[in-house]
């Protein structure tokens, strides 16, 4: 007997499998380790920020700053490696500390001033990208032997597919995110906040501390996503990843997490990310869509996934109440 809690997760996975099957029928080559490896590598940065976004959304909040933070991270790494003699690992640590503090500051503003997360993180988005511009307006290539090593680290899977380091980092981020959200006291507090701030407070949850930690975690993940993006592209560019926050929110929703907070699975988001990647891959494999039809197709497919998910859940619900 399946716990009804898991229905959204199962629906997400089912949709992904069905979609992959459809792609496979049309383009048999889609079912190769190469395409699978690409799915992981190409969406690594997105997956990592989506982990942070999932936690934020589970708490009933939203973080619009992540795209800009990725861009800032890339520029920060590139400029630091170019202008100072610091080792990349040190730069990474510095960056993660910065983005975590940035997230914590936004969380503090949200809690302390009672302002909606949407607006606070929107201002954070302007700020992060603005600071990136101030560091450099040009794109800066990253050239460091250690960095190159990280970039070219991969394991060859059978069938010539590559499991890259950043792909593995994303999978690890999901494991960590899963543990944090579903197996720690902090995670329980996140769900409690999503269930209702007042009730959470009455149950003894320290709402302020949790809020700060949630956005700090999202900032940390955005910083890590930024590192992975820098590894992916080997450069820093202040105009990079415009609108990634919206894609991340979409993946979280496709992954079966409620935007109103309090219900969802971190691993659902992984399938949301893979589904998004699949849509992109399918469009490239097809290769006949014009610029505008590409946009329309992405929107329509997104809608189809969400409606399908709703339908699957509605099919599942009456049985659940009969069980309860």
């Amino acid at each position: 007997m399946i716990n009804p809690r898991r229905y959204p997760l199962l629906a997400t996975i089912a949709i992904f499998v069905i979609a992959y099957a459809i792609c496979y029928v049309q383009f048999p080559y889609m079912l190769s380790t190469r395409v699978a490896g690409n799915l992981l590598t190409d969406n690594a940065y997105l997956g990592i920020v989506a982990v942070g976004m999932t936690v934020v959304i589970l708490s009933g909040g939203i973080d619009l700053s992540v795209g800009a933070v990725i861009a800032f991270s890339g520029v920060f790494i590139a400029v630091m490696l170019r202008d100072t003699g610091l080792h990349p690992v040190l730069v990474f640590a510095l960056l993660l500390a910065l983005t975590t503090a940035f997230g914590a500051a936004m969380g503090a503003l949200i809690h302390r001033l009672g302002m909606p997360p949407f607006i606070v993180t929107l201002a954070g988005m302007f700020l992060a990208r603005g600071v990136a511009y101030m560091l450099t307006i040009d794109s800066v290539a990253i050239d460091h032997p250690f960095f190159d090593t990280l970039q070219s680290t991969y394991w060859l899977m059978p069938g010539k597919g590559r499991l890259t380091l950043i792909g593995v980092i994303m999978l690890l981020a999901f494991v960590v995110g899963h543990v944090v959200a579903h197996r720690t006291r902090f995670g329980a507090n996140v769900f409690a906040l999503g269930g209702g701030q007042q009730t959470a407070r009455l149950m003894g949850s320290r709402v302020g501390r949790t809020t700060v930690m949630i956005y700090a975690f999202s900032g940390l993940m955005a910083g890590l996503g930024g590192i992975v993006f820098a590894l992916y592209t080997g450069s820093g560019y202040p105009l990079a990843t415009v609108g990634t926050e919206l894609t991340a929110i979409a993946t979280v929703v496709i992954g079966g997490t409620l935007l109103s907070g309090g219900a969802g699975y971190v691993f659902g988001t992984l399938f949301g990310v893979l589904t998004m990647g699949l849509i992109q891959t399918y469009i490239v494999f097809d290769g006949t869509l014009s610029s505008w039809w590409t946009k329309i197709a992405i929107g329509v497919l997104l809608l189809a996934f969400i409606v399908l998910q709703k339908a699957l859940l509605r099919l599942g619900t009456p049985r659940a109440s009969a069980l309860g």
Partner: protein
């Protein structure tokens, strides 16, 4: 005693005044106005005119936000309606057809989002995100990715003409705001919108058809976006499907919030949101006039927005009041009773 209407927008007016003073400090001629060729000219008029698209969007956004929703698609709807209007003109239809089709396109877009939200129960942010992504594709489909230029003075008049010395877009947003305020406040619509925003389930029980209200607000938002799209298209005499209204939804939401409207829904003020739009435009125009290097634009905007939001935050106001109370108590120590001393 001032009227309640003025009191509601007082924080926004004060913010605007401070901002104008700030801009005047870096650009002394900011408040200069002069009259030539039968029209008023000056930076302030520019702010009023350039603020038109965001002010128009903010009107619809305020109603959507009052129901607890959000509309990310308005920028894209501007592109669609602009493209529709331009295509209609290029195809040889007259002004009325162009306007009618554009407004109808805006209504349709609102109807689409509204249906997803009211009937399928999709969350507003996702439903409108779908239209935000695919809508720009639709707009480009109409223009085939080109900037569709046209030559119809009557239509251009809506973007760059003048009436009684004031640019037409200013009249348009003034009229739209006044009309909407009258409609929502003179009928029960305003109360119903607030009821839906405060508690959708409860309001459904009291006999309000929440679905109809939701459809209505998203359609009004679509209509406002259509007007904004018409203004932008008429202004440059061409439909730029790729760039019209790009990221303006964020400015519109910002304007709504600077106007003191809660994103959680409930009570709303359209005048305050429109002043919020003018605040944003004052920042934008101020940055342009001040002549800073472009790479500072975003940081300046972000810093000002954060400062405004922090100063307007209700909790901070509470804190300040408490601090002030404590200070006065320290300065004039009342005969302390046991009770008062025990208070935390």
């Amino acid at each position: 005693m001032m009227p309640a209407g003025v009191k509601r927008v007082l924080p926004q007016l004060i913010t605007l005044a401070v901002l104008v003073a700030l801009v005047s400090a870096v650009f002394p001629d900011f408040l200069q106005l002069h009259y030539s060729d039968g029209r008023l000219i000056g930076p302030v008029i520019d702010v009023l005119k350039r603020g038109a698209p965001v002010a128009l969007l903010a009107i619809g956004m305020t109603l959507v936000v009052a129901t607890g929703g959000i509309d990310l698609s308005v920028g894209t709807v501007m592109a669609i309606t602009g493209a529709v209007a331009a295509a209609a003109i290029v195809a040889g239809h007259g002004l009325l057809w162009a306007l009618g089709l554009a407004l109808a396109a805006g209504l349709c877009a609102g109807l689409f989002s509204g249906c997803l939200i009211a009937f399928l129960g999709i969350q507003p942010i996702v439903a409108t995100l779908i239209l935000m992504i695919s809508g720009r594709g639709i707009a480009q489909l109409i223009t085939e990715g080109r900037i569709l230029t046209f030559n119809l003075p009557a239509f251009s008049f809506l973007g760059s003409g003048h009436l009684l010395g004031i640019p037409v877009p200013v009249w348009l947003w003034l009229a739209a705001a006044t009309l909407t305020v009258v409609v929502v406040r003179r009928t029960a619509l305003g109360l119903l919108i607030e009821a839906v925003g405060i508690n959708r389930r409860a309001s459904a029980l009291t006999g309000i058809n929440a679905r109809v209200i939701l459809l209505a607000v998203y359609m009004i938002s679509g209509l406002c976006a259509a007007l904004a799209g018409i203004v932008t298209t008429a202004d440059i005499r061409g439909a730029d499907a790729n760039n019209a209204g790009l990221w303006l939804e964020l400015d519109a939401i910002l304007a709504t919030v600077i106007g003191g409207n809660s994103l959680l829904g409930g009570r709303f003020s359209i005048p305050a949101a429109v002043i919020g739009a003018l605040i944003i435009q004052t920042i934008n125009t101020g940055i342009l006039l001040a002549g800073f290097p472009t790479e500072y634009n975003l940081v300046i905007k972000a810093a000002l927005v954060v400062a405004i939001l922090v100063l307007q935050s209700p909790l901070l106001a509470g804190d300040l009041k408490r601090v002030a109370a404590r200070l006065t108590r320290l300065r004039h120590p009342a005969p302390a009773t046991k009770k008062e001393r025990a208070s935390p």
